[in-house]
């Protein structure tokens, strides 16, 4: 661990009871969903982590419970440090408070998570899907979502596929 990162990790561990994991010099801190806004506010204001580089999720289905880890990768530009905060979220009730008030970038990133993983963010100003079309069912980046494909339309199956294609309303 970076020597400058140690006091920061200590503060977060003491104040929020975070657990620590290290891998290849990267520091991952695990906090509870209800603490995330407070943790990020503290890190931004007191410890000068100005940039939220990544807000995304990893699905550990079916090996681990809770199933999702929401990942917040923070970068401090003035101190040249990196820190990763992780929030484990359950499958039954995937809900988190929004952090759009702390980092504006969270707006689109949280919409992407809603779209791709079905994780909801309470208090989000614009909870719509962002990448997939309106009316899409399911959440594509979940591990149990099948990697489907569309059958190509050839002469021999032209009518069969045309019957399944969406067509404009009369």
């Amino acid at each position: 661990m970076d020597i400058n990162l140690e006091p920061i990790v200590k503060i977060i561990q003491e104040k929020f009871g975070a657990t620590l994991e290290e891998f290849r010099g990267e520091v991952h801190l695990f906090v509870k969903p209800e603490q995330i806004v407070e943790v990020l506010t503290q890190l931004r204001d007191e410890e000068r982590f100005e940039l939220l580089s990544v807000l995304n999720a990893v699905d550990y289905f079916p090996q681990k419970t809770p199933r999702f880890h929401v990942v917040y990768q923070l970068t401090s530009i003035s101190r040249n440090l990196s820190l990763q905060i992780r929030v484990p979220v359950n499958e039954d009730n995937p809900k988190l408070p929004t952090v759009t008030g702390v980092f504006a970038v969270a707006n689109w990133r949280e919409r992407e998570l809603l779209d791709m993983f079905g994780i909801e963010f309470e208090g989000h100003p614009d909870p719509r899907r962002i990448l997939t079309p309106e009316g899409m069912e399911g959440h594509p980046l979940r591990r149990d979502f099948p990697l489907g494909y569309e059958e190509p339309q050839f002469t021999f199956n032209f009518d069969e596929i045309r019957a399944q294609k969406p067509s404009p309303k009369e």
Partner: protein
């Protein structure tokens, strides 16, 4: 089966001003098919006459499920997907992904491969900025810029064809090194480019930098202050034009960037003209890096000799049983990566291109998330264009330098 639903204003009600609901302001679609949106981007504009009141970007028209597809492929095969991500920067995407894999499995890269990677990625940065410069010119009705820039880009693509056999979807940088050593003609071709290109930059600057029409269209538009930029996760030339000195090549050197002497251009104005100037200066800095890397290009292997991750050369397979086994294992099962997660980032022409890579102990990744800079850079657009004219919106959007493949993934 999907149903086609009628789009009504209801879903955008909370994003537009109240005047739009009474019909006082007009809602206008710009895109998805529009030459100035640099791809398939749709902007829903709320207009008061010619002035933009609100701008709601709508993305996802180019969503191809790259991240999902990568989960179904082995680490080596997933790399071809990264080329398709940001199609102006295939070499840089390869590097970002490959560096993440190397970090996950703890694989070293020989110095010659590192230097080759640096040269190619910097050439790619120039090529990407050239496309940007050409399309900015086109958007502002300076048609000749487009032709000049594509002429020089062609030279770079020829070099890529020389080393990898492909002009765009290169997949040349591989885990543990590069695909094969560069051919003998490579050095001559790059030197030729280094000789001609500085004069070309002078030409571009003569055409645009002091051009009063260009300055009128660019100065003071879309001003972005450092605090807003950081809050919106803006990185790359856009952030540096807003006065934040942050370049991953300098602050967290990778691939031996610390050996090269170059500057990071930083301006404080934060307007479209400053973004233009930063990118033009980056041309010259990239040239400096390429020249140094080419002068110092060390001799030696271009691939790691760790046979658990890098396939053995053809000559070994015929004489060594071990090599044959490794070859077979690597091309059928692939290599195994630990059940852990890492984050690694490089400086792409557009900003911080990061890869969040989680392995599951097997030969396929559990999750690959590409943190693409265009996505975050575009999310700040509504803040930039408020109160500007529609014609200025085109200039501001052009200065953001988005690539839709990068945004929609």
């Amino acid at each position: 089966m999907t149903q086609i639903e009628e789009v009504s204003i209801d879903q955008f009600k909370h994003l537009v001003s109240e005047r739009a609901l009474t019909g006082e302001t007009m809602l206008l679609n710009m895109g998805p098919q529009h030459p100035s949106t640099h791809g398939v981007l749709r902007l829903l504009l709320e207009l008061d006459g010619e002035t933009v009141v609100n701008c709601i970007p709508d993305i996802g028209y180019l969503h191809t499920g790259i991240e999902k597809n990568m989960e179904a492929k082995t680490y080596q095969k997933a790399e071809v997907m990264t080329d398709r991500l940001d199609y102006m920067n295939p070499m840089g995407n390869n590097l970002a992904y490959v560096m993440a894999v190397e970090k996950l499995v703890d694989l070293d890269v020989p110095p010659r491969a590192q230097a080759i990677r640096v040269i190619l990625v910097e050439l790619q940065r120039i090529a990407s900025h050239l496309v940007w410069l050409g399309s900015v010119g086109l958007d502002l009705a300076a048609m000749s810029m487009f032709l000049y820039c594509f002429r020089e880009r062609e030279q770079i693509l020829d070099i890529f064809e020389l080393v990898s056999g492909q002009r765009m979807m290169t997949t040349y940088i591989r885990p543990g090194g590069v695909w094969r050593d560069v051919p003998v003609e490579f050095e001559k071709a790059v030197r030729e480019f280094l000789k001609t290109f500085p004069k070309r930059i002078d030409e571009y600057e003569k055409l645009l930098t002091k051009n009063p029409l260009f300055i009128d269209r660019m100065v003071g538009l879309g001003i972005l202050d450092a605090k807003t930029a950081l809050s919106y996760g803006v990185t790359g030339p856009m952030l540096r034009a807003s006065g934040v000195n942050w370049d991953l090549r300098k602050s967290r050197p990778y691939m031996g960037y610390e050996q090269y002497d170059f500057n990071v251009p930083v301006l404080t104005e934060g307007d479209t003209y400053a973004r233009y100037l930063v990118r033009v200066q980056e041309f010259r800095e990239s040239l400096k890096i390429i020249e140094q890397a080419l002068n110092k290009l060390p001799f030696g292997p271009v691939q790691s000799d760790n046979r658990k991750f890098v396939p053995p050369p053809r000559s070994e397979i015929g004489v060594s049983m071990e090599a044959l086994i490794h070859h077979f294992k690597l091309w059928t099962e692939g290599f195994l990566a630990p059940d852990a997660s890492i984050y690694s980032a490089v400086e792409s022409p557009r900003g911080e291109l990061g890869v969040l890579l989680a392995g599951d102990g097997g030969p396929k990744p559990r999750r690959v998330h590409m943190r693409t800079p265009s996505f975050d850079n575009l999310s700040v657009l509504p803040e930039l264009v408020k109160g500007h004219l529609v014609a200025d919106l085109v200039a501001i959007l052009a200065s953001v330098d988005i690539v839709l493949g990068d945004i929609d993934r």
